[in-house]
Symmetry: C2
Subunit: 252 residues, 2 copies
């Protein structure tokens, strides 16, 4: 049994703790929550609200807000143990040097109100030394079928890539929703299109899957759309993305 404690109980921390708790090869030792409260009663007997109460474990997973990772790692009341963080945008170096460093970054979008199948969540791993990396891989492979070694430089690029592919994509959905609401069209009409657009990337590179007025250089439709858009942000985004799609085609 690999002993793991989870420090921080936000979206990522809760999902990770659940995945560890459900796994036969892992013993979830403790969970730290600053507030001393957890919504899920399953964790209440493992809950601590003081870092000084942390018991011995093989790995400590810090899953707090990006800006607190460094501070929390400094406050840990021990040294020489394996401490990892889960932050996509932070280098491994933000962790205090008194412990062995690593990163255990689950590349997925987590919401409290929606459960996630962890077995399909890619886990991006990094560690200072080889044996720690092997331990992290053993843990990762026990909860997910998708495990990668990704160094700090790559992870920062991957995080930016995820902002485009997920956060900005969701904002495209939100604007689509706004336009539908404005015209009393049920947004559900767009759901199959949104799912198919996402599923296409399993079969085709995104550039080959590109459709629509921009890639067709259909200026009549583009002009008609711009004339109908009233919100300034929608119009600006429409123009910039159309331009970006067209330029990139010429680059190919």
């Amino acid at each position: 049994m690999i002993k793991i404690s989870v420090i921080g109980f936000g979206n990522v921390g809760q999902h990770l703790a659940s995945a560890f708790e459900e796994n036969d090869r892992i013993e979830l030792v403790q969970v730290f929550s600053r507030s001393g409260k957890v919504a899920d009663v399953a964790f209440s007997h493992k809950l601590i609200d003081n870092l000084d109460d942390l018991a011995t474990a093989d790995v400590y997973v810090i899953s707090v807000s990006d800006k607190s990772v460094s501070e929390v790692s400094q406050k840990l009341p021990f040294s020489g143990r394996l401490v990892v963080h889960t932050a996509g945008s932070m280098g491994m170096d933000v962790l205090d040097a008194k412990n062995r460093k690593g990163v255990f970054y689950p590349l997925q979008t987590f919401s409290k109100s929606k459960s996630v199948d962890f077995s399909s969540v890619p886990l991006c791993l990094e560690a200072e030394n080889g044996s720690d990396l092997e331990l992290l891989e053993k843990i990762a492979k026990s909860i997910s079928k998708s495990v990668y070694r990704i160094d700090s430089t790559q992870r920062k690029a991957l995080h930016i890539s995820a902002v485009f592919a997920s956060n900005f994509t969701n904002h495209m959905y939100a604007i689509g929703n706004d336009i539908c609401e404005e015209h009393r069209i049920p947004f559900e009409i767009l759901q199959p299109l949104i799912l198919e657009t996402a599923n296409k990337i399993l079969a085709l590179p995104p550039r080959q899957a590109q459709t629509g007025p921009a890639i067709r250089h259909d200026q009549n439709t583009i002009d008609a759309h711009l004339a109908l858009l009233s919100a300034a942000n929608q119009k600006n985004i429409y123009q910039l993305l159309t331009h970006s799609i067209q330029n990139e085609r010429e680059k190919l």
Copy 2:
């Protein structure tokens, strides 16, 4: 049996013709292809390359490029029959007045190289008169479980909405792909995130599902990302979309 002929054999025309051909309650009478050629041998015996050869049918579905819809409708060698087009961005009025007008707009993204399950494709219908609209509904419901009455004004808005939710979304995937390639990261790492982001809209309105540095007003991460992005279009898009996400939160 409802008799239908499909005029135009691009992506949409081919997918529609296949859906009609496979349906027991519909007789696909003819398909018109300007080139006189079809890739799928199943349609070769129904193929015509001259509009004057069109036989009698209950509905003629014009599925040609947006700019050719009007011209093709004028060239039809008959009058008083039901003629519909499939173009999201075109009003019903572009059809020649000599025939009864309607619209049969499948809101989905079609690629020649990827088959589509038509039963989940939303069909947006419009017609000049009630009995034609009922006939179109009967046809639509026989091939899809998702059928809507959408007038020309709504359809134009819906088409813009689809550009954001599908075309622009795919461009976000393409940029994510570029950034991965630049850092030798396999793009497949992002696939589960992309699918989960799309699936979330089935459970949550997009605004509630928004995550990432922009909505958290995490300026440190935003600045770090902008500093790492080298391509001008990526940097401009990152700034504009971050701004748009943040403004809209304040509007709520």
